[in-house]
């Protein structure tokens, strides 16, 4: 059984390599990234062998607890596309214990599992400072891997099991966003610690607290032995063993339950009328615009993108505030970032978001012009008011109304060029996304580095396009305020050129390669 499941998992991994070269490069890079990450930790752990045991303990236990927490939370918050979901084996009639054990062994064959295994082996080196610490480290090593792998499986199962209805899945995204927002203060606190001065004390406090929890006990057992408190070391090993036992029982029970539970059914509700379709003109462009707006509210993937829009500026603003940038200057930061994300996240891969449903645009002979403008209009409808109001509010906080033309010009420039470029990118360089109805944070089958390369390149291009406007605004700030008017002119000119150029070009690309786009969505 175990051997068969292992072979299945290996086969699944091998098949992932039978893809197009670009995706293959992406996968290899992510593998390399994971291995590089592991290597850094390995080197760190080996170096820690020569460090004072108290300090090594603080670092290993606090970071280790974080890693275990990650294994528990990430599958829950972001949902994992589970290739070996227990439910897929329901019809095979395999004994539950056998199946749950086999699935765990199969789960060892993944990049995160391999990384944590490497780390668990290397921490033996860190604690090879005597017989007892070494023995405890070896025992802990096994327990670390078991805790992380079983924990991740339990979380994945819960995510897949409790959140399996469509509507529940749709809300997962929102929950994770809230989670991220809730954790933000903690990160900000950690970021604000003066690490060179106070860092070790903070780590020691975290390690002391975590070492008594199941998250940290497994890391703390050899560490405590190394610093000399043998009693607590054994106690913590017991905690770790008990936790693994509990996790195993939980995982086994979940597997048993999943094997006999069908998918949950969602309650269906009825909607009358045509919604946004009634408010737009009855032309193809109008219908596509209305459809986009409807999808913004009904498709969890768009909803998450839109919820992120007001949240995105928080991080840079907080970072700048910690760096000591004055509050009034900070007022200028959020609006352009929000506009950029609004245009970008809704548009830049919308054909891939449609999935194969885009056939309707092909079959009905929708022109690229209609398709591109239809999708761009909702962004303009939301973005322009945001740009106007946002510019007014930022200028009010900034306090110098002479700057208003520059601020507004920059905002409009970013919105327009963002829409233009996204309209082109989405037909020229679409990349795989999660299917409609899947968790918005699930990983698509084949996401590659190509997509992130394209994303960063086009972000860079957008910044480049905004440089003249920022330059003119700076001239206005330093010298003659008339430069602010020039900045407005430049912003409008660049923005409109980017908007019409990008949407027009995108439309021509759509006309030319619509069948290839459909083929792309069908393939991924």
């Amino acid at each position: 059984m175990v051997a068969q499941l292992l072979r299945l998992k290996l086969q699944l991994l091998a098949n992932a390599f039978r893809r197009r070269p670009l995706q293959l490069v992406g996968m290899l890079l992510s593998l390399l990234y994971g291995m590089g990450f592991a290597l850094v930790i390995v080197v760190g752990l080996v170096l820690l062998r020569g460090v004072d045991p108290m300090i090594a303990r603080s670092i290993v236990v606090s970071c280790g607890s974080g890693a275990v927490l990650g294994f528990f939370l990430l599958p829950l918050a972001f949902g994992v596309d589970d290739t070996v979901d227990a439910r897929k084996f329901a019809v095979l009639g395999i004994a539950t214990t056998k199946l749950s054990a086999g699935l765990l062994v199969a789960a060892l064959l993944s990049v995160p599992s391999l990384v944590i295994t490497t780390v668990a082996l290397t921490q033996i080196v860190t604690w090879s400072r005597g017989v007892l610490p070494t023995v405890l480290a070896i025992l802990s090593g096994g327990l670390i891997v078991a805790t992380c792998v079983i924990g991740a499986r339990v979380s994945t199962a819960i995510a897949a099991f409790l959140l399996s209805s469509r509507r529940a899945r749709d809300t997962t995204g929102i929950i994770s966003v809230i989670l991220v927002v809730a954790l933000a203060p903690a990160f900000i606190y950690l970021a604000s610690v003066d690490w060179s001065f106070n860092g070790l004390n903070v780590l020691a406090r975290i390690a002391n607290a975590a070492s008594w929890t199941p998250l940290g006990a497994v890391w703390a057992a050899p560490a405590d032995a190394a610093v000399g408190s043998v009693g607590t070391a054994w106690l913590k090993l017991l905690i770790a063993i008990a936790f693994v036992g509990l996790l195993w029982l939980g995982w086994r029970a979940l597997t048993a339950k999943m094997l006999v539970t069908p998918q949950r059914q969602a309650v269906v509700k009825t909607i009358t009328g045509l919604g946004w379709f009634g408010r737009f003109r009855g032309t193809p462009t109008g219908a596509i615009a209305a459809r986009s707006l409807i999808y913004w509210s009904r498709d969890a993937r768009y909803r998450v993108s839109l919820i992120i829009v007001p949240i995105v500026p928080i991080l840079p603003v907080v970072a700048l505030a910690i760096a000591g940038v004055h509050t009034t200057l900070l007022a200028l930061v959020p609006v352009p970032i929000m506009l950029l994300f609004l245009a970008w996240s809704t548009l830049h891969n919308d054909v891939a978001y449609d999935d194969t449903a885009v056939w309707l645009h092909l079959a009905s002979g929708t022109t690229g012009r209609q398709d591109r403008w239809g999708r761009a209009i909702p962004v303009l409808l939301v973005g322009l008011p945001l740009a106007i109001v946002g510019s007014l509010v930022s200028t009010q906080i900034w306090g110098n109304w002479q700057w208003f033309p520059s601020i507004f010009g920059l905002n409009v420039c970013i919105l327009f060029t963002g829409i233009g470029l996204s309209s082109l990118i989405s037909v020229r360089f679409p990349y795989p996304v999660v299917k409609p109805g899947d968790s918005p944070f699930a990983q698509p089958q084949a996401s590659g580095t190509a997509s992130s390369l394209i994303q960063s390149l086009s972000f860079f291009a957008l910044l480049l396009l905004a440089v003249p406007v920022i330059g003119l605004a700076a001239l206005g700030a330093l010298g003659d305020p008339l430069w602010h008017v020039a900045a407005l002119g430049a912003g409008l000119a660049i923005g409109l050129a980017g908007l019409f150029g990008g949407v027009g070009w995108g439309g021509r690309v759509f006309d030319r390669r619509a069948p290839e786009l459909l083929e792309f969505t069908a393939r991924n």
Partner: protein, 305 residues
């Protein structure tokens, strides 16, 4: 307009001759035996005097290669107004590939497709306006409600909102979708989804309907309703091209049929010609390589504990 068609389908040179009007599509089972293969000749003498109906779909040398695999190999096909044309073939024979190329969803490697005289790939506007499409296994914009999806399909086809609303009501009644119009398509059952997609494919009253597996997962009552709608449509001059696995169904409702195996047309003509006195299913199995005797499966009959 109706010039003499060039010879096609080498297997059955007699096949093309009788382009009967569609009204006689259904042949009761009792008449099957009397419809002997040679009878076609006598019919053709009669139909030669009749004016052939307009050429709606013309396919010449249509080929699709995926890498080294030839999915569809130089297919030629003519479909005339009022025909109810069935395409049958085993799994993976190239039916969906062919229909996708006809409807402009898949770019052919070679060959031309024209609909009502307009080339699908060089003059897509006209060709696509005349075509209603039901693809197989492609998603719908399923976060729309049934009525929104019909509205979207209609308006994308250039209809005015008022016309779309009117037709939506008619289509909903005809397809039994009244109660479902306000629900999201993603919450529909497979059969309902098929029906709403079928309704959307004909909302702009096209001359040609290209339907890929229109009856798959549709219940028998709905299938009968849909058949009725399609027959009326064909009787009034509309043309239907559909693919199906169900030989019985194709034999019952289609008046012309083509058998595709391994990307090539093995038989093409009126239903009677292709059947050649047998049932379509028997004839199809014969053409597609014959029945495989189910030997060497004895273990299946001794049940395991």
């Amino acid at each position: 307009m109706d010039n003499e068609p060039q010879p096609r389908s080498p297997q059955k040179p007699a096949a093309r001759q009788n382009a009967r009007p569609s009204a006689t599509a259904r042949k009761p089972t009792g008449q099957r035996k009397s419809a002997a293969p040679r009878k076609a000749t006598s019919v053709s003498a009669k139909s030669a005097t009749k004016i052939e109906s307009e050429l709606i779909l013309s396919i010449v040398g249509l080929t699709k290669r995926f890498g080294d695999t030839v999915a569809v190999n130089a297919i030629d096909l003519d479909v005339r107004a009022g025909w109810f044309f069935g395409i049958v073939g085993p799994n993976g024979a190239g039916k969906t590939t062919t229909l996708s190329m006809i409807t402009g969803l898949l770019r052919p490697t070679f060959g031309t497709v024209s609909v009502h005289g307009a080339d699908v790939w060089s003059n897509p506007e006209v060709a696509k306006r005349n075509m209603g499409v039901l693809p197989d296994r492609l998603r719908l914009f399923d976060r729309l409600t049934g009525s929104q999806l019909l509205y979207y399909s209609g308006v994308l086809r250039g209809l005015t909102p008022d016309v779309v609303r009117e037709r939506t009501a008619d289509l909903a009644a005809a397809f039994g979708l009244d109660d479902a119009l306000g629900r999201l398509v993603t919450d529909y059952s497979a059969g309902m989804t098929k029906k709403v997609a079928l309704a959307a494919s004909m909302i702009h009253s096209p001359r040609l309907l290209v339907l890929d597996e229109p009856f798959e997962s549709v219940d028998p009552v709905s299938a009968a309703n849909v058949t009725e709608i399609l027959k009326k449509y064909a009787a009034s001059g509309g043309t239907v091209v559909l693919s199906s696995h169900s030989m019985d169904l194709v034999q019952r409702i289609c008046d012309h049929v083509a058998v595709i195996v391994n990307g090539e047309i093995l038989a093409n003509g009126t239903m009677d010609e292709v059947r050649a006195g047998e049932s379509l299913e028997d004839r199809f199995v014969e053409l597609a390589g014959g029945r495989r005797a189910a030997e060497g499966m004895e273990w299946l009959h001794s049940f395991s504990g």
